[in-house]
Amino acid sequence: MISSEMFLIDDLNKAEKMAMRDGYGEGLAEAGKIDQNVVVLCADLTESTRTDLFKAAFPERFFEMGISEQNMMGVAAGMAATGKVPFVNSFACFSPGRNWEQLRVSVCLSHNNVKIIGGHAGVGNGTDGGNQQMYEDIALTRVLPGLMVVVPADYEQAKKMTLAIASVHGPIYMRMTKPKREVVTTKGTPLTIGKAQVLRHGKDVTVVACGAMVYEALMAAEELSGKVEVEVVNVHTIKPLDKETILASISKTGRVVAAEEHSVIGGLGGAIAELLAEELPTKMRRVGMKDRFGESGEPEELMVKFGMTRREIILAISELV
């Protein structure tokens, strides 16, 4: 049963498709209006990262850094050290892919208040091929001390999350996928960084999901409704992980499936497995990239080929119940 406290859209089957990056772009311009210290850095991907809205509104606070992600991360760290709130923008494969060491030392080890936005993560850059798709970024960021990792579920949540991370002090990584995907949350849906959301109540199995896989999890739950009652938890904050909400759900259902548009190694599934191994050993399945690289194809084709749809979630559930 869909949680009434989450104010999701009325009919999941009629969800409108919108891009998370558009929500981000709008949220960023709003954040710039609220806080004069917000500055935006981009590495030659202004339109793709939807930072053009901010650029148009606050040209003096927008910095085009060219194709130099390592320098961009360092410059952001230096600006943060003087009190600015820099947002660093590129594709996730380049940032934090290429500038991870700068993220580690100039930002995290130095406690600098930098927001890193990894766009086009997962299958996002579909036809561009394997090198441009990013399935390892959550693993790369989750391991860094002091770095928060957030993954909004849709356009609306990306917008809210952008405003939320701008107002929280400390380094934060936010990842988004590129394609227009179903918007399931609404303006009324609450959002607190670090607080996982039980979007649907169920007693038989818990599906923890993040990003676009949240919608897939909700649709899988709809399909199984009446046979298996699925609880769906949107873990939009991978770090710090909301242990309380997650353990409460899994101790009730006794079974768990993790679903993400990321490698099954080191991402949400990895984080949940680590938690459960110590706190609550539970039968578990992981849906995600099975330790492989991507290849050219439309994002929708790739989701099917790599097994990151509601179908695989249903299969995983059937193995557990």
Binding site: G78, A81, K84
Partner: protein, 309 residues
């Protein structure tokens, strides 16, 4: 020293904030600077010997620069208020030079000199490579080369954005120029015409694996930086007058960032360390330290020209 003249208040030296009491006592004669640099070198030798590990050549070679920077009135700072908003930012990009930075920070009173001997020990604020803001006066985390210059560029950009008067001095090694990030940062500094940024490169021609021109030939760093649209000044890194003049030129250059190529002798002041790549990354053993300190103490009398208590 080539010159032993009293330098009072050259027009281009921006004197430290009048409120900062410490600055009333700054030694500004070249004699005093020479003695202070010698003391700095002795502290470095003691710190490294006590720690048992660390880098000797660079810190000793650049001690004259650090002495002049902090005691010669080239930058604004307040030891009683280390994070004073209007301070000039000194970014040590080549983190392995930190013993000499720590020593000069203690010398001007940012923290007690006794703490210097905790270098590299468990629980010490004097980490083997610096951590941002862990110690008063330490602006950035450094060690992985090339990261400091980008942060310095970020600080200078932020200062320009807010029309702040404070300046950024970024200290780098020459081997550090091997890192690609460095050149990304130079492009960016030139693009934004960061005249409030002074990059100081210690051209001592050595790095861990040997001479820089054998490891990865750098050629003329000055010519490269000029091509990147920097104002470039090459100086004898052991001549206070030359260094001060170059720092002054940086302050009166309004259209571009300045790079000062500091030509130094690695290990300067300790005969058996000078120009030896082997001393880039190691600390003196106690016996070696005794010899090094004896040699450095001779400088206290400026070759017998002045008395020494």
């Amino acid at each position: 020293m080539r010159q032993l003249i009293q330098v009072k208040k050259p027009f281009w030296i921006n004197y430290p904030d009048a409120d900062a009491k410490i600055n009333d006592m700054l030694p500004i004669s070249f004699d005093d600077l020479t003695l202070a640099a010698s003391e700095l070198r002795q502290e470095v030798v003691k710190m490294l010997t006590n720690a048992g590990t660390g880098h000797s050549a660079g810190p000793l070679g650049s001690a004259d620069f650090w002495t002049l920077l902090y005691l010669g009135g080239l930058i604004n700072y307040r030891t009683s208020e280390p994070w004073w908003e209007e301070r000039d930012r000194v970014v040590l990009s080549a983190g392995h030079y930190c013993p000499v930075l720590y020593a000069v920070l203690a010398a001007v009173g940012f923290f007690p000199k006794t703490e210097l001997m905790t270098l590299r020990q468990l629980g010490s604020r004097l980490q083997g490579h610096p951590i941002a803001r862990m110690l008063p006066g330490v602006e950035t985390t450094s060690g992985p080369l090339g990261q400091g210059i980008s942060q310095a560029v970020g600080m200078a950009l932020a200062a320009k954005l807010d029309n702040k008067k404070w300046r950024v001095v970024c200290f780098m090694g020459d081997g550090e120029q091997d890192e690609g990030q460095v050149w990304e940062a130079y492009l960016c500094a030139a693009k934004y015409a960061l005249s409030n940024l002074t990059v100081v490169i210690d051209r001592n021609n050595i790095q861990i694996d040997g001479h820089t021109e054998n490891v990865m030939p750098l050629g003329s760093i000055g010519a490269k930086l000029a091509a990147f649209n920097f104002n470039v000044v090459e100086v004898d890194g052991h001549n206070f007058s030359d260094i001060a003049e170059a720092m002054g030129r940086a302050k009166v250059t309004f259209e571009k960032p300045t790079a000062i190529i500091l030509r130094t002798i690695p290990g300067k002041g300790v005969d058996f360390m000078e120009n030896e790549p082997a001393w880039h990354g190691k600390a003196p053993k106690p016996g070696e330290a005794v010899m090094a300190l004896a040699e450095l103490k001779k400088i206290r009398t400026l070759g017998g020209r002045i008395s020494n208590d």
